[in-house]
């Protein structure tokens, strides 16, 4: 194809997206659109998969059967969400094996929030309430993104995600209405998860390199700063109901903006964790790669069994 033809195709393509038409896997698309989507969808899938690990830590130690079945169901949902997203990503012409390889080798990123440890039961509450809360704010606009398979996967994810946040908030509520030690545990969890949750919404707009292109392709509908403000404005009243204090001395209601002003985020910490120096980066990758490697014989055995069955069937036909 000549450069002019490609330019022409690109213009038609951008016009289709501007008209809110969806792009399906076999449609022509600019190479950059394909690569950006592979990057974003796979990061999203990897985050769901690695995101199971901090919570897996507490399944066997959940304080009651009710909490245990809920946590188990939530973690199972996350596995499912990872699988929907990997499938959507594969429609862009990358194999599942390549995607895993990128995660395991550290080439692909996942959400930094999962590189923090889960040290008490209250962390299960804080993760559901804050981390899933921030994730929902990120994900809802993606239900109408331009790439069909991604949008369809996100519709399913968003439907299932609201139980996650409610079960987390209920854990916090129970702890806050419990003994002083339990309430203290809830406050401690909020103190540790608040700032990393704000960072989850991404770098500030002036630092974000992908925002403009992503807005055009409807991979983003609001900027990181807008999403962050929305998260803070809806979460602060929820903390008030719990009787907990948001660990930000600069947090205060701004009457004029009808929004909360908040303190400076420690972006140095964010970038350190992104670069692999968070408290749990190594442990998470070790657990993930270990599980994959220890499962290899099972995958191979299943494939060998399937092939043997098929051979037997073929023989019967003859």
């Amino acid at each position: 194809m000549s450069e002019e033809q490609i330019k022409n195709l690109e213009e038609q393509f951008e016009a289709r997206i501007a008209r809110d038409e969806k792009i399906e896997p076999k449609d022509w698309m600019p190479e950059k659109y394909r690569q950006t989507h592979i990057r974003q969808i796979s990061q999203h899938a990897h985050s769901e998969i690695v995101g199971m690990l901090p919570e897996g830590n507490w399944i066997t130690r959940a304080p009651s059967l009710r909490r245990k079945v809920a946590l188990l169901a939530k973690v199972q949902d996350e596995a499912g969400h990872g699988l929907y997203l990997y499938s959507a990503c594969e429609t862009l012409g990358i194999s599942r094996d390549e995607l895993y390889e990128q995660l395991h080798s550290g080439k692909a990123k996942y959400s930094s929030i999962f590189n923090y440890p889960t040290v008490t039961w209250a962390d299960m509450g804080a993760i559901g309430w804050l981390v899933d809360g921030a994730a929902i704010i990120n994900q809802v606009p993606l239900c109408s993104t331009s790439f069909g398979p991604y949008a369809r996967a996100m519709v399913r994810v968003c439907k299932e995600e609201s139980f996650h946040q409610r079960q987390g908030y209920e854990i916090m509520l129970k702890l806050c209405n419990g003994t002083p030690e339990q309430k203290e545990m809830a406050q401690d969890a909020l103190n540790r998860w608040w700032w990393p949750s704000l960072m989850m919404l991404g770098p500030t707009d002036d630092m974000s390199v992908h925002t403009e292109q992503s807005m055009k392709w409807k991979l983003k509908r609001k900027t990181n700063d807008e999403l962050r403000q929305q998260f803070i404005d809806q979460t602060v009243p929820q903390a008030d109901i719990l009787g907990l204090t948001i660990p930000d001395p600069d947090l205060k209601w701004n009457e004029e903006r009808q929004s909360y002003d908040f303190g400076e985020i420690d972006w140095e910490e964010f970038w350190q964790v992104v670069k692999g120096h968070g408290p749990m980066n190594k442990a998470r990758m070790k657990a993930r790669v270990g599980a994959w490697e220890r499962g290899e014989w099972v995958r191979d055995a299943a494939m060998a069994h399937a092939e043997k069955q098929q051979e037997r069937k073929n023989k019967q036909v003859v």
């Binding site: 076999k26 199972q76 499912g80 699988l83 599942r96 369809r152 299943a302 494939m303």
Partner: protein, 96 residues
């Protein structure tokens, strides 16, 4: 990495209730058809989304190419006589 073959890709179709058609829900990897069914149950129907599941190995699906949509679908465009509105009838003809 394993040298052996990877699990193939399957497409999953789910009937959400009797009376409705099976609809494409997504895809997954599985070693064989039985495992694909079981995985589809776990991945796509955790909340009673279905009463029946079909799985078919993706390689068995033949898909049309959107680049040929012109030749494929345009012939239908100039056949307006396939629609009831093409035919001129007086307004006082009822039940038609």
């Amino acid at each position: 990495m394993s040298n052996k073959k990877n699990w193939p890709l399957w497409e999953v179709f789910v009937r959400s209730k009797n009376g409705l058609e099976h609809r494409h829900f997504g895809s997954l990897h599985a070693a064989d058809a039985e495992m694909a069914l079981e995985n589809a149950r776990d991945v796509y129907t955790r909340r009673n989304e279905g009463v029946s599941i079909w799985v078919v190995e993706s390689k068995h699906i033949t898909a049309s190419n959107p680049e040929h949509n012109g030749e494929l679908f345009e012939p239908a465009q100039d056949k307006v006589y396939r629609h009831p509105t093409f035919y001129d009838l007086p307004d006082d003809v009822k039940h038609m």
